[in-house]
């Protein structure tokens, strides 16, 4: 069957060629450059004065309280948003089971937040959380005193987290809903016949078959959440008192405000490692079953 001559490229090579070309052309150099930066004292204004500093930047990481704070906040952010978003998305997807009037309208609404740019959403929520803003006004309606949500170090990060959950739930709900519709009704009928309640049905029918989709949602959301940045930049710039300083916010600051590209690179690779570790753990825990679980 394989009668190929030596110099003919096999199809797989052609299939991978476009990706490889784009990658080689536009990403190998920047990635290598940014990796090398971690070992340098590099300042864009003064490239000629670049010095090799070995692992000094890495060592700095360990004694840096700002990095520690950013790390802590980022992990808090990930742990606080990803499970909540996933659970809520599952819940909303479950709500849409079966025949519901206006289902299309609901799906469209769920999709709306994804259409807006993150900057616009962050700005809107900045207004929302402001002293005279909608949230405080609503609370006043219930007789509850308003609060400086974004200016209180204790509430600033949770406020941004809540916004992130709002922005992400709809999209993932649609994804999970689509995945759920692939579970054959016969299984649900069988469960009903066996007298299984809602929770048992979920645990033994829905969840195992949704594992790939849930894994997908978890991994993607985790990677994305580790890189939370634009929202922080727009709403609080890392304050108040560093309570919303995240790893990428810190990276951005270090590179573009303090002009210390080398150290910024180290922070970037810290994010890279963390995302990698978390993703691998998530993927292992949620290995798909051998049955028909279809990820999207």
């Amino acid at each position: 069957m394989t009668n190929r001559r030596r110099f003919v490229l096999p199809p797989v090579a052609w299939f991978l060629l476009p990706w490889a070309a784009v990658y080689a052309a536009f990403f190998v150099f920047p990635f290598v450059f940014s990796f090398v930066l971690a070992f340098l004292d590099y300042n864009p204004l003064n490239v000629a004065n670049t010095r090799f500093v070995g692992t000094a930047n890495f060592a700095r990481l360990f004694g840096d309280p700002a990095f520690g704070g950013a790390l802590r906040n980022t992990i808090l952010f990930v742990v606080g948003t990803v499970p909540v978003t996933t659970a809520l998305a599952l819940g909303v997807a479950g709500l849409m089971r079966g025949k519901i009037p206006l289902k299309g309208a609901f799906k469209a609404a769920l999709f709306l937040p994804s259409i807006l740019s993150v900057v616009v959403i962050a700005l809107l929520f900045k207004l929302f959380y402001a002293p005279g803003g909608a949230l405080n006004q609503a609370l006043a309606g219930f007789g509850v005193a308003g609060h400086g949500w974004l200016t209180d170090p204790r509430t600033a990060l949770p406020a941004i987290m809540a916004m992130d959950v709002w922005a992400a739930v709809g999209y993932y709900a649609i994804v999970l809903d689509a995945a759920r519709t692939s579970i054959p009704d016969s299984l649900y009928e069988a469960a009903e016949l066996e007298g299984a309640g809602a929770w048992a049905t979920f645990r033994h029918v829905t969840f195992p078959l949704l594992k790939p989709a849930i894994a997908f949602v978890l991994v993607i959301n985790t990677i994305r959440s580790f890189q939370v940045f634009v929202e922080v930049l727009v709403m609080t710039q890392g304050g108040p008192l560093g309570s919303t300083n995240t790893l990428v916010m810190y990276l951005y600051d270090t590179a573009f405000r303090r002009l210390d590209y080398g150290y910024a690179s180290v922070v970037a690779y810290a994010v890279f490692l963390l995302s990698g570790v978390f993703s691998i753990i998530a993927m292992r825990r949620l290995r798909p079953e051998t049955a028909e679980g279809r990820p999207i």
């Binding site: 190929r4 096999p10 991978l16 490889a20 190998v28 150099f29 204004l45 402001a130 005279g132 573009f256």
Partner: protein, 418 residues
Amino acid sequence: MTPRRGFLRYACLAASAAVLVAFAACGDKEKTGDDGAVVHFWQFWDLAVIQPLVDEFEAQHPDIDIEVEQLTWATGLEKIQAALASGTQPDVCELGSTWLPRFSYEGVLEDVTPVYEAERDSFLMWESALWKGRVYGLPWVQGSRALFVNRSLFRRAGLDPDQPPQTWDELLHAAEKISQLGTGIYGFGQNIGERYVLYKKFMAFAWGNGGDVFDESGEVVLNSPAVLEALEFYLKLAPYSLQEKQEVLDQYFKTGRLGMQVSGAWNLKNYKLEAPDLDYSVALVPKPAPDHGAHASFAGAEMLVVFKASPQKEAALQFARFLQAYPQAKKLSLAAGSVFPAALSAMHDPDFTTDPRVRVFVEQSLTSRTTPAHPGWIEMEEAIDRAVEESLYGRRAPRWCLDEAAREVQEIAARFQR
């Protein structure tokens, strides 16, 4: 179904090699100058505002072609950095006064000391352009901060709106009285929770009291008694203040719920458009006591620089001086509505002295200070912001905060020894 595996590798390797070769061979793109000179100018104002000035210059100098590019305030700096890193920086660039010292320190700016020597008495705001005895930038436009006073709230509180607070005690008294008018009404506005603002407001009080970050000999005096007094006074204002981001403070003032705040001239334009009936006036920032200190305030300046590596230095400098000159700076200021020329001629120009509010801003610039011209300023301002914020949030005692901040500033300064 396993095709020759090696070929995949070769394909990728070949692609990478080809690209790297192409990349190495490409080299720098040369800037094409036609017959005359092309001067690239990067700046932050709306093109509609800056284009008339450019056109005028080109009309006067037919052999020079100006290419303008607009940068955004939020991300313009990244672009400048990318350009410098790749050798594609413009010839003339607008830089904020807080940024300039770092650029001077790194040696990327053209020395314009001769211009300074010729023009020094005609302009304010040279300080940020000075580095090690030489000058590296031209002050273009500036904006100081002054005290906005809501006259209706003053009246309601039993205060005389025509006698805005002149001293710290008067300021504290007024803030207290106004905040007693009811919930949701605040006497004073204090910035909190965002970067790049707080130190501007706080330092005004420190400078007014004779304090500063560095003294003449370059010693760090951030934790001196003068500054500590200013911080303690600032904390006294806290119970009667709305502590929020700049936007919110401006908004509250606009809707008549904030008695006083130190803010900038951009509000003059905004309030005229959005709250034409607001009864307010502008006053100099209060000084510590009738016989002590000064009405100091913060002023930020937009400076014009020429990059040392520019192939069109002469034309670039010519253009920069043109922009800096009073007629052009004035046109820009009037069009933008939020800044004033750095040129002293503005002090006597009826366009800037007739409107009482505008006149106060112009007057305030005479006693305004700008941030220390230190390359590490961006980090230092962060330390100062943090110190004041920590005191405002009641986390730490003011004395401790200032000592910490002084120590950090010292550390940062030590890193910039070139």
